[in-house]
């Protein structure tokens, strides 16, 4: 059963929920969708999958021309096989030129499946998109080799399925005065196609690194819980000067199980853009640096004067963090007292 009017073209944004609202990534997708639509004079659609999502679809309707609500009890929890099937049905009805998704764990679980079902190529982790006016093909730029090179690929077969890197584009600004239309789309959901069964959801602490004003991040140099304690102490004292200070780290710190993967920053973790980023004991591989390109000021503390992180930083301190951090923390504490 489908109740979408069939009309070709348009840009379809896959909206994601985060907590009670819509994910910040969704506004970035809508921002990118709008930018392309200004050139191509196309419509920007958003689609949301889930159950009892009326509040979220209403919120999104302020930013999109039309919102497709795929509200179904079997879509209450993310299940990649069912979600991909439902999204395929919507795409076949809507025939969009572009399907924009976030480069998030959820969308990365969906996008290749959807591309396979639609028989088209997919481009992931894009930072820039543009339409070739003559051909209507899509040019997608994405960092490769851990961010060392940016490559532009050309997609020729519609729908162009693309995942967009978080923090790569400006989010859609102010809500528009006119709300987009909300359309219920009832996909045929065949439960038997779901071979992967959800047994349990384990919530680790919820962090929002992408909203942090300052991030203190540790790397391989941190080594143990003692080192981590100093980082946390710096987070605490910075919290007296700034709002939203978060602890993060590069992959070695996650692999050493010192911080959960939700706090990992870099190519396979979060991409962040805080006002201040303090990298402690992080050598600065491009896999990590590619995740902090949006930071306004980067401070690096490392005992190795040759560490590549200094090349990516605005301020550098050559020295062991065990000595540098206690002094820094003490001084910051003093400043706090004066205020």
């Amino acid at each position: 059963m489908n109740n979408a009017t069939r009309e070709d073209g348009g840009i379809l944004v896959l909206a994601e929920k985060e907590g009670q609202g819509i994910a910040p990534m969704t506004l970035e997708l809508l921002g990118m969708g709008r930018r392309i639509a200004e050139e191509t004079k196309e419509t920007v659609y958003a689609a949301m999958l889930g159950h009892e999502i009326a509040n979220s679809t209403k919120e999104i309707s302020q930013f999109a021309d039309r919102v497709y609500s795929l509200d179904h009890s079997l879509l209450a929890n993310f299940q990649a096989e069912l979600y991909a099937g439902a999204l395929e049905e919507l795409c076949r009805n809507l025939n969009p030129d572009i399907v924009l998704m976030g480069h998030t764990l959820t969308s990365l679980d969906l996008a290749p499946r959807l591309a396979f079902k639609m028989g088209v190529q997919i481009m992931t982790d894009c930072i820039q998109l543009s339409i070739v006016p003559e051909t209507g093909n899509l040019l997608c730029s994405k960092p490769v080799y851990g961010g060392k090179v940016v490559t532009t690929f050309e997609l020729k077969k519609k729908p162009f399925i693309v995942t967009l890197r978080p923090k790569a584009v400006e989010p859609f600004g102010q809500p528009r005065p006119v709300q987009g239309e909300i359309i219920d789309f009832d996909p045929v959901i065949n439960e038997s196609t779901a071979k992967v069964q959800l047994i349990e959801t384990i919530r680790e602490e919820s962090v929002s690194l992408n909203k942090a004003e300052a991030i203190v991040a540790g790397g391989r140099g941190i080594r143990d819980a003692e080192g981590l304690k100093l980082l946390k102490e710096l987070v605490r004292v910075l919290g007296r000067h700034l709002n939203r200070v978060e602890l993060g780290g590069s992959r070695p710190l996650v692999d050493a199980r010192l911080i959960p993967s939700s706090r990992q920053i870099g190519l396979t973790g979060e991409k962040v853009a805080p006002a201040i980023y303090i990298a402690v004991g992080i050598s600065g591989s491009l896999q990590h640096v590619t995740g902090i390109l949006g930071a306004k000021k980067i401070i690096a503390i490392n005992s190795n004067p040759k560490a590549p992180i200094f090349g990516a930083a605005d301020y550098g301190v050559i020295g062991g963090f065990e000595d540098v951090l206690p002094a820094l923390i003490r001084k910051l504490e003093e400043f706090g007292c004066r205020n």
């Binding site: 985060e18 997919i122 050309e154 959801t201 910075l238 020295g319 000595d323 540098v324 002094a327 001084k331």
Partner: protein, 264 residues
């Protein structure tokens, strides 16, 4: 239960930890040329191999590693055998060079179909060269088996796979019947230590090699990547070093600098 057939897909990539200047860009030829850095097994594929080897410790299992490319470095890939894999199978053909994700998945799936059965296929979540992160799931789609992404833990129980898969703010435990494909994330753990001695020990072990013809793949059916442009990334900033006679003094001066520059 009979012996489990575990297949690990491992890609040879230029060492992703190599310095930025080791990746030279030839804009004319639209190629990236690694200079002076050795090829390695893609780190996430090493994580996948480690998962396979841990399963082998608890179950009767055979671990086969397959790798595809235009030209493969046998000494690099033999590391998989030295770590404990039973067989190494190379899909090597000039036509397999620089394929797009779909064609890559198609070649790998064709080879997997030719094997004597498979219960669990493991791949890394993405490769350290092009970072597409889609080949694993495409293989599962081609083979029409369940595909599970971003595993941090994989266990076999009663002819099912139990996977801890990463999700926003935590992880999910999911279950699926074998055969199944799982893509593995770094959280699963690094590949065990491989000694030089172990590497020497497998130096003469025969390696099976298949060409496009062996796999009955028409080269014309394979597609390359359509690259329009390549540019080196410039991530450099002007670094102002904080002075001081000791790390302690530098720490204090950094605090003062942060205040002066109105960062706090």
């Amino acid at each position: 239960m009979s012996k489990l057939n575990v297949i690990v897909c491992a890609k040879q990539v230029p060492d992703p930890e190599g310095p930025a200047d080791a990746f030279q860009v030839d804009s004319e030829a639209k190629k990236i040329i690694p200079v002076g850095i050795p090829p390695v097994i893609n780190p996430f594929d090493e994580n996948a191999l480690e998962v396979a080897l841990r399963i082998k410790e608890h179950h009767a299992a055979t671990v086969k590693v397959i790798s595809m490319g235009g030209q493969l470095a046998r000494p690099v890939l033999r590391k998989a055998l030295a770590a404990g894999a039973d067989d190494l199978i190379l899909l090597e053909d000039p036509h397999f060079k620089d394929l797009n994700s779909f064609s890559t998945a198609y070649v790998l799936a064709s080879a997997i179909k030719k094997m004597e059965g498979y219960d669990l296929i493991l791949t890394g979540r993405q490769a350290g060269d092009w970072d597409f992160g889609v080949t694993g799931l495409l293989i599962s789609e081609i083979l029409q088996i369940p595909g599970i992404s971003f595993a941090q833990k994989v266990e076999i129980e009663d002819h099912h796979v139990l996977v801890e898969k990463l999700s926003l703010n935590g992880y999910e435990v999911v279950k699926a019947p074998l055969p199944v494909l799982v893509t593995v994330s770094g959280e699963a753990g690094e590949l065990r230590y491989v000694s030089v001695r172990a590497l020497q020990g497998v130096g003469k072990k025969p390696i099976e090699t298949y060409t496009a013809k062996d796999l009955e793949i028409a080269p014309a059916s394979l597609e390359g990547r359509k690259i329009v442009d390549l540019v080196s990334t410039n991530v450099r900033r002007e670094c102002k070093f904080i002075e001081g006679v000791s790390p302690l003094e530098k720490g204090e001066n950094l605090a003062a600098c942060m205040k002066n520059e109105m960062l706090i």
